[in-house]
């Protein structure tokens, strides 16, 4: 207690030093006067009286020192003065301070940002109790290690296994939610009744599903996600028992899930419902649309669980050979199932960031070393004047502290920004499957990690100058011959590091250039139609109301008519799948009147309305377009693309020829009436497939996309499309309003290329900066070591030009080596990564030359500064140095 109080007062004393000083001066003065007057009374002379009084005090200065040491905390006093000194020193050399802080901040930021992702995805356990016993159970086939289950198989596995405490199925999906104003698509989760109990999650409000609710007819109950409860139901407690209409069926709300609950394998879910055991897929053992989770019983290992489930699967294979042949089982930890796929990419990023951090550390250490070299004389003087080693170390530490603290703060800010940037690189569809990234940010763990990096930097930046000074002291005491050996060793190591840094920067820069060029090529690939002034929307009409062809055709015509009536819309058309989606939704065809070998002829199949090709701006090569009147009452017709025509009708006119299905069933026979220039139906980077287009009116569906060509900016009509369609009927679902250009540039392919370009570009820019700082550090250090040599040369008549040449030659060699190795490395790397490139060769000369030129210019700039310092040396000063 007593001691605590004393310390508190001493620390307070640090801040009221001036008052203490004045008080003690006054107290000593009064003491001295009292004693002098006593002495005078004892008969001393004035001179003697004062002398004797001062003697008794034991020297005024040391008495005051002793008092002051007691009145404050000397360590804090020194720290404060060291801090002031360091800041003053750093401000004298702002270039050094800014560079060091920037380099260190960059290293810390990259590592911290990537760590935040690694922590969220790989280190943090999944957010359920006892995660180690939570498994994902799936089917295994020869091609896919994790395949989805059929509902009957799931039920058998659940019933017959002896290794799981519980096992439950889940699947994602969508509902059309009826609201007051219309219909909106919502995300659905379909589970078996014990799903949340198996996870170990209890509802925030209301109750969980009960086992009896799995029975047919009793499963009309739903649980809400927290977000849906808040947004759709105002967070009201009265929500329990409310009826909601989902895809035309009525459900009762029985519970609300906690706010922080999420389940990554499905992603976003608004409504959780129970799997309908009588559903069209659930009744078939060959219809696979489920995955499942399970809790291991105590003392059951994963291999023994796998063995148990596999034996059940083998039994089912024997029992139902038609549907279950080749279907085994797989059991893996749920955490692995969730985050396993991100591990390789995150590990690569983490290694990249670690490399950057290491280079940053080395570079800052080399900058500090360079500075220490310049301060050797100052330090020697201070040592000679009696500064203790401890005091010098503490001063180096203080300077490191100032630099590292600034760098850490800057690094954290930069890391936060980087995280946000990285998040935008993940496509939205992917992101919904990674709910663990939702709370990504500077939490305590991430800040703790950054603090750890800062501590390492602190130690490194303190040790470097201290070791340097003690080496140079030793060196001065030794013979002339050994002089500078430590310096030479550093120059050798430093040079090699710089070559590696420049080579790394070169590889990454070339990579960024190649990815950037790929992206450009990708976004400018020939589409076969005009994507400008084009907008689209997806439409889903309820099957129950539109069961027959006639109402479907009427609906399509109605939609086209209403959209064309909107101001600014020139024409509207339908297709079953938007262009630039993917090659798929295919048909197997056969040509009438030609021999058939049974091999599948697979072509993209799209059902489009009569104005489709005119609306998107495709080009008709031969024949004619569809007419609106062509429905089932008319002969079946088809338009083919150029690729199909070239591939299957070389040197022939395809117009009038007929195609059908693999058996040439009479109903499937269609006559080719036109050929269009290839429209890009697949992704931007895939090849053009043969394609056939049918009239929508001959095979109308309830789910399609509508395209409109606009006279002004297509963005202007986006908000009008949905309401115009829902005017027809409120229960028609609409979503995905987008301009065609946005649709293309947000497509998965474009995302992947853009993400790669930005990611590699970010690393490349950092590596370039670090490489240049490294080069500067080594060259400047070399100049400082060669001051005397340069002085001699200049004294002997060397011109400025030759000094420049001397220094730049040294830098040039390092740069050329780095660029050379980097060029070789980048060609090798690009050959390995050529699958990721589009429309660019691995040895793209333009990228290589541009990158090399950039590095050369940057290297010259970096070495020009020390070279100029060398050339402007006064020979006499240089000779006197050391």
């Amino acid at each position: 207690m007593k001691r605590l109080r004393a310390w508190r007062m001493r620390i307070a004393g640090v801040f009221s030093r001036d008052r203490w000083n004045k008080e003690i001066a006054e107290e000593f003065e009064s003491h001295l006067e009292l004693q002098i007057s006593d002495n005078l009374r004892a008969g001393m002379t004035a001179e003697e009286a004062r002398r004797e009084a001062l003697m008794k005090m034991g020297g005024l200065v040391s008495a005051r020192e002793a008092y002051r040491d007691r009145s404050t905390v000397p360590f804090l006093e020194h720290l404060a003065s060291d801090l002031r000194f360091s800041v003053r020193q750093l401000r004298k050399r702002p270039g050094f301070a800014v560079t060091a802080v920037l380099v260190l901040a960059l290293g810390i930021a990259a590592s911290t940002a990537i760590f935040a992702f690694v922590d969220a995805a790989l280190i943090q356990p999944i957010p359920y109790p006892r995660p180690a016993t939570l498994m994902e159970v799936a089917e295994r086939s020869t091609l896919f290690p994790l395949n989805d289950l059929s509902f009957p198989d799931f039920q058998d596995w659940r019933r017959y296994n002896t290794v799981f405490r519980s096992m439950d199925a889940f699947a994602g999906g969508a509902f059309l939610l009826s609201t007051k104003t219309g219909t909106e698509p919502v995300h659905a989760g379909r589970v078996s009744s014990g799903f949340f109990r198996t996870l170990g999650v209890s509802p925030l409000l209301g109750r969980d599903f009960s086992a009896s609710e799995e029975a047919p007819g009793r499963n009309q109950v739903v649980m809400l996600s927290y977000a849906m409860w808040q947004q759709g139901f105002g967070g009201s407690r009265n929500v329990l028992g409310r009826r909601v209409v989902l895809s035309g069926d009525a459900y009762t709300v029985i519970g609300v899930l906690p706010e922080d609950f999420h389940f990554a394998p499905i992603g976003r879910v608004d409504f959780w419902s129970i799997i309908d055991p009588k559903g069209p897929c659930a009744i078939r053992r060959s219809c696979h649309d489920l995955f499942s989770i399970a809790r291991l019983k105590d003392d059951v290992s994963i291999p023994s669980a796998l063995a148990n489930v596999t034996s059940i699967a083998t039994q089912l294979e024997r029992q139902y050979p038609d549907s279950n042949r080749g279907q085994s089982a797989n059991v893996i930890p749920l955490a692995e199932a969730i985050a396993g796929e991100f591990r390789p990419i995150l590990m690569v990023l983490m290694s990249g960031a670690a490399l950057l951090l290491l280079i940053a550390y080395v570079n800052v250490a080399s900058l500090i070393l360079l500075r220490s070299e310049g301060r050797k004389r100052e330090v020697a003087v201070r040592r000679a004047l009696g500064a203790s080693v401890q005091r010098l170390v503490s001063q180096c530490a203080t300077e490191a502290l100032v630099l590292v603290a600034a760098a850490t703060v800057a690094g954290l800010l930069l890391a936060n920004w980087t995280m946000q940037m990285l998040m935008t690189l993940i496509p939205a569809e992917k992101l919904s499957g990674m709910p663990f990234l939702l709370n990504l940010g500077l939490d305590t763990r991430v800040i703790g990690y950054a603090a750890g990096l800062a501590l390492v930097a602190m130690i490194l930046l303190t040790a470097t100058p201290v070791l340097h000074f003690s080496f140079s002291e030793m060196r001065d005491g030794l013979a002339e011959g050994s002089r500078g050996s430590a310096g030479r060793a550093w120059r050798r190591i430093g040079s090699r590091l710089v070559v590696v840094e420049l080579a790394t920067a070169m590889v990454l820069l070339v990579g960024a250039a190649l990815f950037g060029k790929s992206l450009y090529r990708l976004l400018h690939v020939d589409l076969g139609f005009r994507a400008d002034h084009l907008a689209s929307i997806e439409v889903g009409a309820p099957d129950k109301s539109y069961a027959k062809d006639q109402p479907r055709i009427a609906l399509a015509r109605d939609i086209v008519r209403r959209l064309e009536a909107l101001p600014g819309v020139q024409s509207a058309a339908l297709t079953t799948l938007l262009p630039v989606s993917y090659n798929g939704d295919t048909d197997w065809i056969r040509f009438v009147g030609r021999p058939y070998d049974g091999k599948h002829i697979e072509v993209d199949e799209r059902d489009v309305s009569s104005e489709f090709f005119q609306t998107i701006g495709a080009t008709l090569l031969r024949g004619r377009y569809f007419s609106d009147a062509e429905d089932e009452s008319k002969p079946e017709v088809v338009i083919i693309n150029e690729t199909l025509a070239r591939k299957y009708f070389p040197g022939e006119d395809p117009i009038g020829k007929q195609i059908g299905d693999t058996n040439l069933t009479p109903k499937s026979i269609k006559t080719i009436i036109g050929v269009v220039e290839d429209v890009r139906e697949g992704t931007l980077d895939s090849e053009i497939w043969p394609a056939e287009y049918h009239p929508f009116n001959q095979d109308p569906s309830t789910y399609f996309s509508v395209l409109v060509r606009t006279s002004q900016k297509p963005e202007a009509v986006l908000t009008a499309l949905g309401p115009a369609i829902q005017q027809i009927r409120r229960d028609i679902g609409v979503r995905g309003e987008a301009t065609m250009e946005d649709f293309i540039s947000n497509s998965m392919t474009a995302y992947l290329h853009r993400s790669s370009a930005w990611l590699v570009g970010g690393f490349a820019a950092s590596a370039l900066l670090l490489g240049i700082v490294g080069l500067y550090g080594v060259i400047a250090y070399s100049v400082s070591q060669r001051t005397r040599e340069i002085g001699v040369r200049m004294a002997l008549g060397a011109e400025h030009r030759s000094v420049y040449r001397l220094i730049l030659r040294e830098a040039g060699w390092l740069a050329i080596l780095g660029i050379g190795i980097g060029a070789a490395g980048s060609i090798t790397g690009a050959v390995f990564a050529r699958k990721l490139l589009f429309g660019v060769h691995s040895w793209d000369l333009q990228s290589l030359v541009a990158t090399a030129a950039m590095l050369v210019i940057a290297s010259i700039a970096a070495s020009f500064v020390p070279a100029r310092r060398a050339a402007s040396l006064n020979p006499m000063d240089a000779l006197r140095a050391e």
Binding site: E27, E29, H31, L34, A66
Partner: protein, 114 residues
């Protein structure tokens, strides 16, 4: 000139407390003079060490001070014992008496009856 004894480590604080108890509020010089007089000038007190000791006692809460006027009409700090200081004095005086008694018994010539 007779040889003087240096002040033993740790005893100065006790002497200061005792002096303040006997004399009441007193300035630094007065305390120093009083300690020397009480020891019949056998103790050599470095006045320079007195002030840090006073400061330490003050920081620990054993003494307090206020400005007053000295004999020669100058402003001076007058120290006085606090309640905590009084308790500390009692405790330390008792400890000290005990310690010297033990040591005294120890150093008595051997075989001497107690």
């Amino acid at each position: 000139m007779e040889s003087k004894v240096e002040v033993w480590q740790g005893t100065l604080a006790l002497m200061v407390l005792k002096t303040l108890e006997t004399m009441g509020p007193q300035h630094g010089y007065g305390i120093a003079r009083r300690i020397e007089q009480t020891s019949r000038n056998m103790l050599s007190l470095n006045y320079g060490t007195l002030y840090p000791a006073l400061l330490k006692l003050e920081q620990e809460g054993a003494i307090a001070w206020e400005w007053g006027v000295s004999e020669n009409n100058r402003r001076a700090k007058f120290y006085k014992l606090t309640r905590a200081g009084r308790r500390q004095l009692e405790r330390e005086a008792r400890d000290w008496a005990q310690a010297t008694a033990i040591l005294g018994r120890f150093l008595k010539p051997e075989g001497d009856p107690a």
